[in-house]
Amino acid sequence: MAAHGRPLTEAQAGLWYSQALDPANPIFNTGQYIDLVGPLDTEAFRAAVAQASREAEALSLRFGTSADGEPEQALGEAPDLAVVDCTDRPDPAEAARAAIARSLATPVDLARGPIAFQTLYRLSPTRHFWAQQVHHLANDGYGMVMLTKRVAELYAALAEGRPNPGRPFAPLDAVLAEDAAYRDSEERARDRRWWLDRFADLDEIAVMKPGRAVSAHRFLRTERAMSEDARQSVAALAKASATSWPDTLTALVAAYCDRFVADGETVIGMPHMARFGTAAARVPATVMNVLPLRVTPDEDAQLAEWLAALAGTMREARGHGRYRSEHLRRDLGLIGAERRLYGALINVQPYDRPPRFAGLDAVLHVTGTGPVEDISFTFRGDLKDCPTIEVEANPDLWDERAIADHAERLDAFLASAGTAERLADIPTALHREQERELHAFNATAHPVPETTLTDLIAQSFAAYPEAEAVRFGDDALTYAELDRRSAALAALLASKGAGAERIVAVALPRSLELVVALVAILRAGAAYLPLDPDHPPARISKILAGADPVAVLAPDDPHGLYEDRLLAPGDWPLDSAQPEPDTPAPDNAAYVIYTSGSTGEPKGVVVTHRAIVNRLLWMAEHYGITGEDRILHKTPATFDVSVWEFFLPLIRGATLVVAPPGAHRDPSAIARLIAAHGVTTLHFVPSMLEAFLDTPESEGLSIRRVFCSGEALAPDLRDRFHRRVNAELHNLYGPTEAAVDVSFWEAGPDDTSRPVPIGWPVWNTRLLVLDERMRIAPPGTTGHLHLGGVQLARGYLGKPDLTAERFVADPFVPGERLYRTGDLARRRDDGTVEFLGRADSQVKIRGLRIELGEIEAAIAATGLVRSAVAVVRDERIVAYVVSPDRSAGEALRDALAGSLPSYMVPAAFVVLDALPTTVNGKLDRKALPAPAFAGDGGEAPRTPGERRLAALFAEILDLETQVGRTDDFFALGGDSLSAVRLLLRLREEWDGDPDLGLVFEHPDVAGLAARLENASDLRDEGLAPVIHLARGESGAAPLFLVHPAGGVGWGYRTLARSLAPARAVHAIQAPGLDSQIEMPESIAALARDYADRIDTACPAGLVHVGGWSVGGLIAQELAVELENRGRAVGMVALLDAYPAECWRAEPEPTEAQALRALLAIAGHDPEAHPELDTREKVVGFLREGESVLANLSRATQDGVVRTVLDTNRLVRGHHHRAFGGTLTHIRADADHADRPQLRADLWAPHCAVLDAVGVPFLHRELPGKPASALIAPILSERMAAAERISA
């Protein structure tokens, strides 16, 4: 190989890049040692290693970057054999292993080398460890086997005095030349097309362990020998399917992996040596590729046939195996550590057999195989003996126990396959895991009296006649009064035919009468059916037709649907002499609640007294509910959470506090209710809890207990809750079909679970996590949650087919039923259940269950469009419809308002010529265009208030498009919850105290702005000195990002929100934005001002700082200032920033040149606009454009211009002081072709340690989304590391 630098091969480039992102990560050191027992001829061995090392040129490689910033390589010195004598150590083998581990854990210097080591540890005269270590850039697994064999071959000859045998390795140049030839070849283009054809329709891939797959600095490892049963099974299936055993084994392991993926399809990675038919067949080097393999097990196919088919795909893939999968990943746009091309690696290495050394016993021990991003299953050795099963995993995603379980289960899976006809016959869980699921985890038997809800309430009437039963504002009823009034109404209802197995509908607003009505219906022996009069008449009409209620208790009959069944509160008797009606039996229906149905038909869930009694008595006892409790009812009665709100107090002599109508949407009103009525217990859907915590009134509230259910409770929300409110927090879970809730979890302040579990089953209830085929899913595995026990609903009213479909025979307990929730769940190792979302198209938005199919059916029923699909994007429903009429959306919206409840009407309609499909003819969801949640968007906002409000709408609704002055908040996709968020922001930012009604009355930008402006003077735009970009978690130190040249810090929002774990991020904005404020005299003065702001915002503890461009330069000075003040400074991140002296050397820019920096900040490419060569033109262009800058008031725009010019002047006069810590520099590697001197080392004189990273983006792209996806993890890791050190 020539002395000058050579480019890296495609195989090396990916590894180089990963190592460059994390230069201190030693995981790229691969290694093994061979335990040699017997008399070793040390000199012959030394000579053999020396010759093999010379032949294997890759071991001598050194790496650097060329003048133009590209990585390159050249040859240095070959490694010699080092001999280490451990014979005098107390435990020589242990000492040698420790030395091997230490060496592996030490990152090598790629530039200076050595990058490969050959070491012979002498343990005794007859025992040696021969350790090899090579950086992965130089060699791969097969290369290591070649090298080992070559040394063994040379040693045998040298020890016996024979001439050198065999053939030496071919030179490395052969591999480099072949790689270069492939890069531009037609073959590569063909290979690429082959892969794209097979992967273009790939949705987000399903893997065993979703999450960030970036190799940690170490990996977990477990190893066991394959059992004899498994070995025989693989051999027999290889024979039966006429495939090679390695392919058979790969296919079986893929089927095993797929069991841990919910989607039916997974993609595994198959390491491919990529040497066959190439020069690399005789060269140790890094050549290996990972071939992604789409695996869709057909559980019902003949096993041998399925194996043969998949093996055929593998062979075909290998034929195109030189095209790098990292390139395919980029081709497919899978950018970021969470968007992967494959999950588990399955690596069958039959060639890695125990090495043979003349006259010695040799045993191989693998110590490192390079980065482990997720999990890998490796099988080493021949099937004639039992190969090893090795599982290696990323400790950030897996734990020791999980991988040991996988090794054990996989072996059992392979063994079972030998006797299986079909994959379907093979269990996933081990026998002991199945036993635990069925018995230990579901031991919930608890005695419950044979009674009814009616009877439990009657007991309270007798026991607490004088206690306050119901409170509604200033009105209240004692238990005696409730008894009297409900008895009178019950008698009237009974006289109209109400009784066991009959239904009485209720459509009353929250009021005392509502409670009287429910109790009366139960006393009459009937079941109550809540109706929402705001639902479309067509829907109500369908429900009435199906339920055939005896009466409808409602204030009026707005749609003329109730007819003579209407019984308004004014007509109810207050007293009655009539006898008490017959009480119901425990198996009679207590209530019927309608939920969304996929066929477009709402379905009525019939729940018995026995079921709800179990639920209520469990809750009363479990949480110690007493007569002292005051329980808030605020959930609409059509939502089943209301059932316990109503009746939990009434069975314990406690007080039911009824919230006024509408209050459930207003978090401030809820907070006031809690305070005014001494509420001890209440419920929130988590998204509402979030809004509640945002309201100032919730700060410091003391409540006995808060229950969450209806949607997943986020861990961050739990933590925020406990920081803000003093109360127990309980997470409950259950579908309407199982009497409200079936599981519970205390999400207390010490709970650190992520996600927050749904916990454990309530009394007499079973939770089973099963796979698609009702097989038990092992702990840690996603499965379908099934429910059993007394709380199951009887079924769907009048729909026996649907009932039979969802309530199925329990395969484990004869005669029992299980309800298929359609929810995905997983057990932790300790048995706690976690909820993982919906399995089907049913979604939950704001806690409301929605069948997208029902929406699609309703759209189809309008006859307005040819086809339609409804999807959820950013928490809003979007309908894609096919129609020649571009304006079909408006007509549809009107039509659907008559057939769907408002929460199910799509927030946006996108009219297409055809729905995009994949090659398989399936809907291509990825290809659906992003909707514009915009109305007309035509007329731009005029006043500063309108602009501010339009920006706020866009921010809250996360819109990319401009919001016009006539745009309506709700038409843009807003809902009541986002309206609450808007309200809270209005209260923060405008004077006065607007209420929610204001937003509903004036939902358009112009109207709301006018209303707000009348109320008060407006302050200027949100250009505060410090703005909040992201909310943090406890424990994570805040990050302060300094504005770039324009002085505005909003551009950091994407980066701020990409950090994981989330942390508080603030942007510091320039004082010059406010024309009233004098610009400071120097960067140092500016930094002092900024340090003051940090001291105010965050008076103590560790802080991180950073900035892009000029912001980075200021951040360095800010770090020095903070350090001098004695503040602990963690990460200091400079995003493509360069020190002041580089700019002093440059000619002074003109005003226009300086202002062109604003173009980049506004998201334009300055190079694309050479015509903007005066101040007026730049400013004019920016004012016309669509950037945030364009939306600022003229005064503020002037402030931005002033800031750019001033900052530019200050930078040139600045002289850096040295910072005593580490500067992390992120270089925009794709940029600076014209100024190659702009490199990280320019900062070396200004810091103690320089941590330099390059990213393949342009300077102006750094704060954008794609670059942030790459930069955020780098910063997160630095900050976490700094926090560990500081702790």
Partner: protein, 80 residues
């Protein structure tokens, strides 16, 4: 003797790529005939056990029966 080595090689190759031995001529490109890297690896391992002096790299560089046979003959007659 030579004929026997050639026939043995042919039989082994045919078995690995699942074709009838008589379809493999001296000049048949084995890659085209279905020899992929995994099968080549298995074949190389089989030959290593039997002491046939051909390895994976040989299969990679000389993927016809004629070339392989020539290599094997040359190595088994070469002085060692």
């Amino acid at each position: 003797m030579t004929a026997t080595i050639r026939d043995d090689l042919r039989t082994d190759i045919a078995e690995i790529i699942e074709v009838a031995p008589d379809t493999i001529g001296d000049d048949t490109n084995l890659l085209d005939a279905g020899l992929d890297s995994m099968r080549a690896m298995n074949l190389a391992m089989l030959w290593e056990e039997r002491g046939v002096p051909l390895d994976f790299a040989d299969l990679s560089e000389a993927p016809t029966l004629g070339e392989l046979h020539a290599l094997a003959r040359q190595r088994s007659t070469a002085p060692n």
